[in-house]
């Protein structure tokens, strides 16, 4: 399943020269046909969003179904970008980048370290603390928020990024668990070999494990960035000044059930808010697919 090349190198006999190219062609066409077709189905909602973001206010609700606007209205983007009062989307983008960028670095870095501790070292109470850690995934943030808010108010950290970023020094259970699973896929012999060469645990972490879990760290970084980028609940509570709003909070302030809502601007800014996450994904996705170098496994 890993590659077409492998299949060709079976010793099962010579393939008939005339039929083979046709069969391959059919297979390739089917593959791409399916992937493109299904891909379009998957992308339809987003394509609709993009199309609607260019529809003027009179068309959005009267010409809902079509993907293509009758009267392209790029002004939606201009109005949406203008934000509220004097605070434009440039500020919201900046805030989102600060939150998601720094948050991701902190989360992934710490989670990797902690994951190594849980996966590769035996210590008293390991099972217990692992259980506690997993339990933190299970308690909804809505119940934690009030006591947490009171604590942060007393510390005077309201209206700053501190309540959002500092807890990330401890890593996050989701990523700790994820990285743990990948570390467990690495044979212990590699650790032993390094230990024989005189490496302490720290050395093993940096020299052996870290290089091998690069794909999962990249995946974790992509996920963390995207989770943080879309997070609106904690920024809603802790960032009061509109100048500190992230995109997720700002977008939610655009719509009001009782008043006139600028839906064109909402669609425009929503579509735009997907771009950074997508770009990061595209840039980093090839690191995801680098497998483990096989030489490390021999011997």
């Amino acid at each position: 399943m890993a590659s077409v090349a492998t299949a060709k190198s079976t010793p099962h006999g010579v393939m008939r020269p005339q039929a083979a190219p046709l069969r391959d062609l059919v297979r390739i066409l089917t593959y791409h046909g399916f992937m493109i077709g299904f891909g379009l189905v998957m992308l339809y909602p987003l394509l609709w969003l993009l199309g609607s973001s260019f529809k003027g206010p009179s068309e959005i609700w009267t010409n809902i179904s079509s993907l293509i606007p009758k009267i392209p209205t790029p002004e939606n983007y201009v109005r949406g970008w203008a934000g509220f009062g004097s605070v434009t989307f440039a500020t919201f983008y900046k805030n989102s980048f600060i939150y998601a960028g720094i948050g991701t670095i902190l989360t992934v870095g710490s989670s990797a370290v902690v994951a190594f501790g849980f996966a590769r070292t035996r210590f008293v109470g390991r099972q217990f603390w692992f259980g506690v850690m997993m339990s933190t995934l299970l308690l909804p943030v809505q119940v934690q928020i009030i006591p947490q808010y009171i604590v942060f108010t007393k510390l005077g950290w309201l209206n700053t990024f501190l309540p959002l970023l500092l807890p990330r020094f401890g890593g996050q259970a989701f990523f700790i668990f994820m990285i743990m699973q990948f570390i467990r896929g690495i044979p212990g012999e590699l650790d032993d070999a390094a230990a024989i060469d005189g490496c302490g645990k720290v050395g093993i972490f940096f020299r052996v494990i870290l290089p091998l879990i690069t794909p999962v760290l990249v995946a974790a970084a992509i996920f963390s960035f995207y989770f943080t980028w879309g997070d609106f609940f904690t920024p809603l509570i802790y960032l009061n000044d509109p100048k500190l709003y992230t995109i997720s909070v700002a977008l939610r302030a655009f719509a009001d059930p009782a008043g006139a809502t600028d839906w064109g601007a909402i669609f425009a800014m929503s579509a735009l808010s997907l771009v950074p996450v997508f770009v990061i994904f595209v840039l980093f996705q090839r690191y995801l697919v680098q497998g483990i170098s096989t030489t490390g496994l021999r011997g």
């Binding site: 399943m1 890993a2 590659s3 077409v4 492998t6 390739i28 593959y31 791409h32 992937m35 891909g39 998957m42 992308l43 909602p45 609709w48 609607s52 902690v114 501790g117 070292t121 035996r122 603390w129 933190t136 995934l137 299970l138 308690l139 909804p140 809505q142 119940v143 934690q144 009030i146 006591p147 947490q148 500092l166 020094f169 401890g170 668990f177 990948f182 896929g185 044979p187 212990g188 012999e189 230990a195 093993i204 972490f205 995207y226 879309g230 609106f232 997720s248 977008l251 939610r252 929503s270 579509a271 997907l274 996450v277 595209v282 995801l288 697919v289 680098q290 497998g291 096989t294 496994l297």
Partner: protein, 318 residues
Amino acid sequence: MITSQFRTARPETGRQARGRVRLGEHNLAGYLFIAPWLIGFFAFTFIPIAASLVLAFTNYNILSPLPHWVGVRNFERMFSHDPRYWVSVRQTFYFAFTSVPLKLAFALALAMLMTAPRRLVGVYRAAYYLPSIVGANVAVAVMWRQIFGTDGVVNAVLATVGLPAHTSWLGNPATAVWTVIALAVWEFGSPMLIFLAGLKQIPAELYEAAAIDGAGMLARFTRVTLPLLTPIIFFNFVVQMIFGFTVFTSAFIISNGTGSPLDTLLFYPLYLYQKGFRDFEMGYAAAMAWVLLVVTALLTALIFKSSRYWVFYAQEEG
């Protein structure tokens, strides 16, 4: 030698320590590595979690400064006097046990289709991942209405093939929850990526060796791919189950926070949020949260215990 070490299933604990390093050093190293998490836990998480446990036994309406103790009355009310509570439990279980297998199936299938280094694979990866990053976007509700609404795309497509095309998928109690399931499954890009990373971890030599031994495609899948992928399947399964039970945002956005129609979208965390932040019964919400925690913890522990039998790890350092 390579294949043999992967064929044996080893339970994750119960192995003899390699006997090279003293236990004391192990403890120090262990705690040193998990120190960031420990510190973070005690500094930021412990107090809110403990406070929420206390709140579960109180009547706290947020607006008045002090909660007052009511013992187990919240739990009592929850289990015997609250019809909507059980509706939310039922809907959540239904959602979790339907969406998670579907999501994982799509994720694995598409991941397998994308491990081949064909042209355009990068494009496909991006296209299939893109829906996952839409998440809590306010536009999701509108998009979903565009698709499943009475005049939406699904009905338009049904009409062209002559099937009945007037259902309000979002408004009909029989079908509404499936629109949210569809939304969850639509976002299979995340577990798909994790599967991809996991598939890439499987050395190509193993496939070659298996092929040389005469294994066909199906055999290669069941004998090489699946066993080596089990840690990842395990991870995705646990995590998606947890997500399935704590799903809030999609139901909130699609039903505009109401859980309608007929509470079919009243998932447990949504009901919890309503109780806490709409009805201002924070004590009741905390009680609900702890019940959720206990149940999901039990479920997760069950899955972990079962992993002994079906998850194969490479050998672990002691």
